[in-house]
Structure formats: structure tokens, C-alpha cells
């Protein structure tokens, strides 16, 4: 369960990137955060996986106030999450395989298992034939799929995705969303930031509308 209480975030005075955001995502929820560019979607996601701290407010994930977790112990929270970044954050000097395997290496998983699981994750995003390529040799859409494979490879309990289908054609975007839905059915909580209304309409369960850093409304379909 992810609970946000009165989250405020200010990068520069006097503007507030987020103003008094309070919401709750239950275990197994499939949520969308939507809104125009600059509405604070990415900031909100970054606060959830604690890349940045809010100026005010509290965040509780699985009954743990993550703002009180010391820096050197934050890894335990992040191991439960799979994150798809808007800018992918791939390592361009490493092959596709290594980019994904890194998540499993961190967990101390055996080498032969890593190979199998990386292959399966790549097959899910239909990129298993590019396992030994470098990300620079892939298209934007393919890089995005590598980022998605990295996020799901360790079957995390929480998936946070920032515009995960932004560079994909509608057909592939639909497939990727179905993949997230499948992982969600196994019990994972999924939070996706997007402004693709078609996808929201088709897959939406809980929808949060942000506008200029404020939570305008919540909808449950």
C-alpha cells in the first residue's frame, strides 16, 4: 500500500511543483496519474521512490514512513520496486543484457538464473533478439522497452512507470500496458504516469488528475 499525506514540493520560490497531494493506492491497484506537461507527475513519482524529498508531507509504503529510512538503507525499499524512467536511464556502455541483469546482480541472484530471467523479460517486450546489442544501436521505442524489461525482471511488488509508452506506436503501447496489467493481476501495485487518454480509458482503474501541482480529482472506474 502506498499512502501520500499532504505532499508539498517546491524547487524554487515562489512556485510549488506539488501542492497538498494526498492519495492512497491499495495493494494490487492499477493507477494512472495524468495531467498536462509540467503538472507534477514526474515529481510525484520521484518522491514515491525517494529520488527526491518533498518539502512537506509524509509517504508511507507498506506501513513504513520512507522519509525516515536512512540513505544507506533505502535500497531495501527500491528492491521492491520496478521503475521505468521517462529518460530510460540506460547504461550506454553496457549491452542490453547487462542493463537488465544489473537489477538481478544487485539482488545476488545466480548467474545462470540471471540469464534465463533476463531472456524472459526481454521476450515479454519482444526484444529477446537484441539481447547482446548496445542501447545506442536501438531505436527510442526499443530503448524504452529495455527500460520496461529492466523494471519487471525481478517481479517487483510495486511498478512505477513514467510515460512508459511515450515513444511506442499504439499497438505496442497496448501490448506493454497489457504486460503491466498481467503483472498487476499477480498482485503488484502499478502506478503509471501518462497523458494517453486512450490507454487510461481502456486500462484505467484508479485515475488521479493533476493540474499545476494540484490534485484536481480522483476517479475510480
Amino acid at each position: 500500500m502506498i499512502e501520500l499525506y499532504h505532499i508539498w514540493k517546491q524547487y524554487q520560490k515562489p512556485q510549488w511543483a506539488l501542492s497538498d497531494i494526498t492519495f492512497r493506492a491499495e495493494r494490487g491497484d492499477f493507477c494512472f496519474i495524468t495531467g498536462p506537461s509540467g503538472s507534477g507527475k514526474t515529481t510525484l513519482l520521484k518522491i514515491i521512490f525517494r529520488e527526491i524529498f518533498p518539502t512537506q508531507g509524509q509517504i508511507v509504503i507498506n506501513r513504513r514512513n520512507i522519509l525516515r529510512v536512512p540513505d544507506h538503507k533505502i535500497y531495501s525499499l527500491r528492491r521492491t520496486m520496478g521503475i521505468v524512467f521517462q529518460d530510460f536511464r540506460l547504461l550506454f556502455h553496457k549491452r542490453v543484457f547487462d542493463n537488465i541483469a544489473i537489477v538481478l546482480q544487485v539482488l545476488g541472484i545466480a548467474r545462470k538464473d540471471i540469464r534465463r530471467r533476463v531472456f524472459n523479460a526481454l521476450r515479454m517486450v519482444n526484444l529477446h533478439h537484441k539481447m547482446w546489442e548496445y542501447p545506442a544501436h536501438l531505436s527510442y521505442g526499443e530503448q524504452q522497452r529495455v527500460a520496461i524489461a529492466r523494471a519487471v525482471v525481478n517481479s517487483p511488488k510495486i511498478i512505477l512507470a513514467d510515460e512508459p509508452t511515450g515513444n511506442l506506436d499504439p499497438e505496442l503501447a497496448f501490448e506493454i500496458m497489457s504486460l503491466f496489467k498481467e503483472i498487476n493481476k499477480k498482485g503488484a501495485t502499478v502506478i503509471i504516469c501518462t497523458h494517453d487518454r486512450e490507454l487510461i480509458r481502456h486500462f484505467g482503474h484508479k485515475i488521479f488528475f493533476l493540474y499545476k501541482g494540484k490534485l484536481l480529482r480522483k476517479e475510480t472506474l
Binding site: 521512490f49 540513505d71 544507506h72 527500491r78 528492491r79 520496486m81 547504461l91 544489473i102
Partner: protein
């Protein structure tokens, strides 16, 4: 190792600095070893010669001999008559036989050559022992090279201190250099570190490759300094030739002992470890 190779130019520079720092320590340590060795050699062969008056009666001579033999500071003592002393002199300097033959008298007084226990050479007991012997009837003079031993020992201490002082400053400098070299490679990989943090890597997991790089650079620097020191020790006497005569032996370099060599390499590893460790802290806060 991949990382070391990737930034090889920067790392070679770092290893060279470590090597030079430890080379300075090594050279002074080696010089100190040599002075220590020379002092030990002098101590081992340290003989106190008690010169006797020429007209000394046999009874008095025996009394002195007995006192020397009974003394707890003495290992052995030997009486050298005037004739034996002359014989020894001619044996050492045969070319001076003509001059000696021209002398009408034997100029060498009889003496007792006495070897003292090594460990008491520098103690006050030796001084008081010599003093008491000097006051005895029949003893004319005492020849004793204790000052040389003490000079060698203090020179050895000085060489060691200078080595540690200069080396210490350079080692401190090399610590900061390693720290900055590692910081550069950490900075070059800060995106990777950030991603590792975000996918749940522990600080230790991230640190280990960098720490290993630092340790390897430190060990390589230490080993390289030993190798260069070896070359210096081999080549320095060739460069000097025999121009310095007896002084050659004094400023000769003696190679470091096994424990000193291991300590030097170990110190390199420690410097490398600390340099890496200190440079990583600021990048592990994502």
C-alpha cells in the same frame, strides 16, 4: 579491472605518484638499513685496547689481566706483547719495514685487547668500567671506538626519520591524488552509480569495484617503487665508481628486508583503499 583499463592514462599517473612517494621512503629506509648494518659491524668487532706502561712488572701485568678476565662486561681478553704488536704492524704494512728497522727501539707498548659484550657497548656501565681500568696502576692509555658506533646509530636514526618525514608528506600527497583520481572515475560513472542506487544496490555493492581499483593501484605503486629501488641499488654503485673510496661503504644502499618490503606494499594498499573510500561518500546519497 575493466575500469582500471578504461581510465588507464589517469591511473598510470596515479600509480607513478604512489611509486615515487614510496620510493623516497624506500631510499631512506635502505640508507638507514645500511648505517644500522655498519654500526652493527663496528659493534661486533669492537675491541678496547688497554695500553700498558713499558716498564710494567709481570706481577702488575697479571693483576690487570686477571681483573679483565673476571669482569662481567668482558667476553675475552688477550695480552699482546710489544714484539707481537710490532709483528702485527709489519704484517699489515710490510712496505714500512725499512722505517721500523731504522728505529732503535720498539715503539709499540704492550697491551690487552679486550672484547666487550655487544649489548653493553653504549651503556654507562662500559664507561665506568673503562674509567676504573684507566685508574689502575700500569695502564697508560685506552683506545675505544664507541663514538663511531654511536654516530652510526644516530645517523641511521636520522636517515629513518628524514625518510619517514619526507615520505610521509609525499604519501599524504599521493593519498589526495588517489582520492582525486578515483573521484574523477566515480564522477565519470556517476550516472551508473545513480542507476545502481535506484535499482536497489547497497553502498557496499557500489563501493567494492572502486575500492578494489584503489587497492590495486596502491599495490602496483608499492611494487613498482620496490622495483625502481632495486634498480637504484644495483646501478648507484656503478654510477659512483670507486671515487668515494671508503665512504662508498657508508652511503651504499642495502635492499629492504622482506618485512619492510611487505609493509611498503601493504601501506600502498591502505593508501589506495582510504583514497577511494573518501572519494566515494558524496556520490552515494541518491
Amino acid at each position: 579491472m575493466n575500469n582500471l583499463w578504461q581510465y588507464r592514462v589517469r591511473n598510470v599517473f596515479s600509480v607513478t605518484i604512489i611509486c615515487l612517494s614510496f620510493l623516497i621512503v624506500g631510499i631512506f629506509l635502505s640508507l638507514s638499513n645500511n648505517l644500522q648494518y655498519t654500526a652493527q659491524q663496528i659493534s661486533k668487532n669492537m675491541v678496547i685496547v688497554f695500553f700498558l706502561k713499558k716498564d710494567l712488572s709481570e706481577k702488575d701485568r697479571n693483576t690487570i689481566g686477571e681483573k679483565l678476565k673476571k669482569s662481567s662486561e668482558v667476553i675475552k681478553t688477550q695480552f699482546i706483547s710489544s714484539e707481537q704488536a710490532l709483528g702485527k704492524f709489519l704484517e699489515k704494512f710490510p712496505e714500512l719495514q725499512g722505517i721500523v728497522n731504522n728505529l732503535k727501539i720498539n715503539p709499540f707498548p704492550p697491551s690487552f685487547e679486550t672484547t666487550l659484550k655487544e649489548k653493553i657497548l653504549s651503556s654507562d656501565e662500559t664507561q665506568s668500567f673503562i674509567q676504573s681500568m684507566q685508574n689502575m696502576k700500569g695502564i697508560d692509555d685506552v683506545q675505544f671506538n664507541k663514538d663511531w658506533v654511536e654516530r652510526m646509530q644516530s645517523l641511521s636514526r636520522l636517515a629513518k626519520a628524514v625518510g619517514f618525514f619526507l615520505g610521509g608528506i609525499l604519501i599524504l600527497a599521493s593519498f589526495f591524488i588517489i582520492s582525486n583520481v578515483i573521484k574523477l572515475s566515480v564522477f565519470a560513472r556517476k550516472d551508473e552509480i545513480g542507476i545502481l542506487r535506484l535499482v536497489g544496490a547497497t553502498n557496499t555493492f557500489i563501493r567494492i569495484p572502486f575500492l578494489l581499483d584503489g587497492i590495486i593501484m596502491g599495490i602496483l605503486g608499492g611494487m613498482l617503487s620496490l622495483f625502481v629501488l632495486f634498480l637504484v641499488i644495483k646501478l648507484f654503485p656503478l654510477y659512483l665508481g670507486s671515487s668515494l673510496g671508503a665512504l662508498n661503504e657508508l652511503i651504499n644502499f642495502r635492499y629492504l628486508s622482506l618485512s619492510q618490503s611487505i609493509s611498503l606494499i601493504g601501506a600502498g594498499a591502505v593508501i589506495g583503499f582510504l583514497g577511494s573510500f573518501s572519494s566515494l561518500a558524496q556520490f552515494l546519497k541518491v
